[in-house]
């Protein structure tokens, strides 16, 4: 558990981050979202003390971060950034093993960990281990960057716009991979982005920052359904809100017994995609299957009910 | 600013009124020996020194920029690798050696100095002019073609003005080297301020050495500074800084 306790950063008397407090549960993804200049990156960089807080403290599993020497603290926290920051003169293996190397793990343990991570990120170790970052595609570089941040099994992984430099299709895949790997490893992740879509898609919890203050912190559904301020409402986008809400819910949640015509949907499909299929094929109900086994059907009315905001 | 003005004033006084500085140089002169160089006036030495530099650098600029323009046109492209080789190799030739080698070919006097200064001065200007002319922003060049400028107009109105700061940097390097090499030119009987230093070295008169060294040093520093100012002003106007 990460506790952020009234943390502030002042530059020439102006607060870039203003008394932000929040709690991040273990094994969850918290996405900090905001416009540029909202203080989101400053907040993130205060957690591994790349920026020293002016006041307040951060506790990781109860231990205040201020008590450790900075470099020791940082070796316990994974850090992945936009544009990956891989060492261009080191091989993929040496890049991924960088933090274990700093922690003086025995070489064979580092090697095993590198191969394990490459496997996890669907990159054939034998093929990629000895390549240099310049020989990888953008998506591969980004994966190696995240693998490097995870290498020492850190208590916490900080990510600053990790997908910012990727094109939309590779970006969507990278997001899926991150979700999958986070579930598999049970990592605790704090991720900064300016993209509300990414925040809703990835976050177990979303924290919205504006002008240095934390204006709302809750589940994606809460943020969309009950925006705390004008700013949050604007951010989650007036007209798109029902659709964003639908995108959070899988079909399996509203499936009911009964028959329906046509091509079936998988139970994990989200409601926005289900709605889209209804409208495109002109049907009022769609059959739902899981692993090829029929579960029942989902109706247009039921989808509509889930999209309604508070009256 | 104040420092600059003070240095200019100091230089002026050193050249025009050397007598004022007897007290400063006297401790360095040999017992009973002359303190201030009087064989030739410092003014005439300065003028002939600067004259050599201006002449050589002017000619070098003209030739180097012309060559750079030719080599950066499509028709001259075949000469580009060669010109790069020549500039690379040429710049490893020590200026003093170029000067010394000019003597067997041309004899003593201002002639070999001028030729050595010219030849050596070509290289930095040529190199920078090529860099400047071949690294123009492609969008600007495209736009220049797009609005219908012909080749000459593009060269004169777009390429040269945009490359000017880089070319000026080359000219500055070249002038600084020329000032230094011209000083050594007095060893081959060219009339330059080096004469004062050499006379001091030959007669063990440190006062001469200091006097000559100070004047040449001040000239170099002030001219360098003036050219830097010119460059920054120019690049600021072009918005590249």
């Amino acid at each position: 558990m990460i506790e952020i306790d009234k943390i502030s950063k002042l530059y020439d008397g102006v607060a870039a981050v203003d008394a932000v407090s929040m709690i991040v549960e273990t094994a969850t993804i918290t996405v900090i979202v905001g416009t540029s200049g909202s203080g989101k990156t400053t907040l993130l960089r205060m957690i591994n003390r790349l920026i020293e807080p002016s006041s307040g403290e951060v506790r990781i599993n109860g231990e205040p971060t201020g008590t450790l020497p900075k470099h020791v603290l940082r070796r316990r926290i994974g850090y992945a950034i936009q544009g990956h920051g891989l060492f261009p003169h080191h091989t993929v293996a040496r890049n991924i093993g960088a933090v274990p190397e700093l922690l003086r793990w025995p070489p064979e343990k580092i090697r095993a960990r590198v191969d394990e991570l490459l496997d996890l990120f669907s990159m054939e170790p034998a093929q990629f281990r000895d390549r240099f970052p310049g020989e990888l595609s953008g998506g591969q570089q980004q994966r190696v960057g995240v693998a490097r941040a995870l290498a020492s099994r850190p208590d916490l992984l900080l990510m600053d716009e990790p997908f910012g430099a990727l094109d939309p299709i590779i970006r969507a895949r990278a997001q899926q991979d991150l979700r999958r790997i986070q579930r598999a490893l049970g990592s605790t992740i704090m991720l900064v982005t300016h993209d509300i879509e990414e925040a809703i898609h990835l976050g177990d919890r979303v924290a919205v920052m504006d002008e240095g203050r934390l204006v709302q912190h809750g589940t994606p559904a809460e943020i969309i359904r009950q925006p705390a301020t004008e700013f949050v409402a604007e951010m989650v986008g007036g007209v798109d809100r029902p659709l964003r809400l639908l995108s959070l819910v899988p079909v399996s949640e509203i499936v009911v017994d009964g028959p329906a015509e046509g091509e079936p949907l998988d139970a994990d499909t989200n409601l926005r995609d289900a709605l889209s299929t209804c409208l495109w094929s002109g049907r009022d109900a769609l059959p739902v299957v899981r692993d090829g086994v029929p579960l029942g059907r989902v109706t247009l009315d039921a989808i509509r009910a889930r999209a309604e905001g508070p009256r | 600013m104040l420092l600059r003005a003070a240095l200019v004033a100091l230089l002026g006084a050193l050249v025009l009124r050397p007598g004022w500085f007897v007290w400063a140089f006297a401790p360095f002169a040999p017992e009973g020996g002359p303190v201030i160089y009087e064989r030739t006036t410092l003014l005439s030495l300065s003028l002939s020194h600067l004259g050599l530099v201006v002449l050589a650098s002017g000619a070098a600029t003209l030739v180097a920029v012309t060559l750079a323009i030719l080599v950066t046109r499509p028709a001259g492209a075949a000469f580009r690798p060669l010109s790069r080789t020549i500039t690379n190799v040429g710049q490893t030739f020590p200026p003093v050696a170029v000067l010394a080698l000019a003597v067997p070919a041309l004899g003593f006097g201002a002639g070999p100095t001028l030729v050595a200064l010219f030849l050596y001065g070509l290289l930095p200007i040529f190199e920078n002019a090529i860099t400047g002319l071949s690294t123009l922003p492609p969008a600007t060049m495209e736009a220049a073609r797009g609005i219908g400028l012909n080749r000459w107009q593009r060269l004169l109105r777009v390429e040269l003005p945009l490359a000017m700061p880089v070319i000026l940097t080359g000219i500055r390097l070249s002038v600084v080297i020329a000032l230094g090499t011209a000083t050594i030119g007095s060893t081959v009987a060219a009339k330059t301020l080096g004469e004062v230093i050499i006379a001091g070295l030959l007669t063990n008169n440190t006062a001469y050495v200091l006097q000559g060294g100070l004047i040449v040093g001040l000239f170099a520093v002030l001219i360098y500074d003036a050219l830097v100012q010119l460059e920054t002003r120019l690049s600021r106007r072009l918005g590249t800084v």
């Binding site: 790349l50 900075k70 470099h71 020791v72 940082r74 070796r75 316990r76 850090y79 950034i81 544009g83 990956h84 920051g85 891989l86 060492f87 261009p88 003169h89 933090v99 700093l102 390549r131 240099f132 020989e135 941040a149 900080l158 | 360095f28 028709a75 075949a78 690798p81 080789t85 020549i86 690379n88 190799v89 710049q91 490893t92 030739f93 020590p94 200026p95 003093v96 050696a97 010394a100 080698l101 003597v103 067997p104 600084v176 000032l179 230094g180 050594i184 060893t187 230093i197 050499i198 001091g200 070295l201 440190t206 050495v209 200091l210 000559g212 060294g213 040449v216 040093g217 170099a220 360098y224």
Partner: protein, 390 residues
Amino acid sequence: MRMRDAGPALLAPGLLFAGLGFAALLAPFMTLAANRIVAGEGVAVWRVADPVVTLPGIVALAAGLGLGLLTAWPRVRIAGAAMGLAGLVWLLSQGATVLLDGAGQYARVSPGAGFWCLLVILALLLADALSQLSPGPLARALLLAAVVGTLALLLQSGALSQLSVMREYASRQDAFGDASLRHLGLAFGSLAVAAAIGLPLGVLCHRRETLRRALLPVLSFLQTIPSLAMFGIMIPLLGWVADTVPGAQSVGIAGIGFAPAFLALVLYSLLPVVANMLAGLQSAPPAVIEAARGMGMTDRQRLFRVELPLGLSVILAGVRIVLVQNIGLAVIAGLIGGGGFGTFVFQGLNQTATDLILLGALPTVALALSAAIVMDILVELTRPIPERTP
């Protein structure tokens, strides 16, 4: 348009070399003088010896220049240049013996303008052809070794010992050895000291903006001061140190000689060393530095594991600048009794003995060129990112 398709690419530089080369054949190839001081008389290339001797040489030269025209075959051009150079050496060594025969005890023969022009043209032809092949670092190192080896063999063999410059050498062998050592000591020693001071200064400048702002302008102004003035100003300065600091004289610090020359060279070297160290350290992309900091590297670890390896080639490029510059500037030391090849240059200028000037200037040029080539190879080898095809 048709011109451009076939014309320049095939002909341009080769044609230039051939044109200039044949023109140079008409210039006096060697000079014959009554003694080492007076100006010599030019001798055309076909007159330096019997046609039996000159003809093969001239043919080799002409053929070499002709092969240089074949732009499409760089290897053939290289062979042509080598053949031309061989012809040049043949003519020179044969001509020297023939011309000196019966010309008097004090007579001297020297290469003339024609020889020097042809040498430069053929060397450029060789360089141009080589740049077409763009050889790797190893090939260039072997090539340099081959050229230096050939030159050494040629000088050892005595084929050129009749030449005036070699006669000057013969009468000064010991002095030449001393001067070489002194010259190398000045150039490399000052580089070592400048590196010892400048590299840590570069690191400090990298870390502290204020120091960088204060130091760099001072160093670039130092660089601006003409060398003779700098050497001159060092004299009273070190003279004063020698007189006032106890023990300074016993370690060799004196107003004239080696010490002021050495100090002046060190001062000149500081700017390139510091500036390139700084540029090298700053060449690491900001994201890489951010990542290094974020993963918990200490300042030291970041310096040695990331910044230095990534900047090494830029830093070595600074060393190259300094080395080439110092080899040249060390000549000036000859004026203030600092020794080195400059001693011969300035003695030669004083005595108007051309060949003595050459004895100082030619080794300097050769040394500077070799140092530049070796350093270029090192710079290329230390590029941080190995170039590999994926």
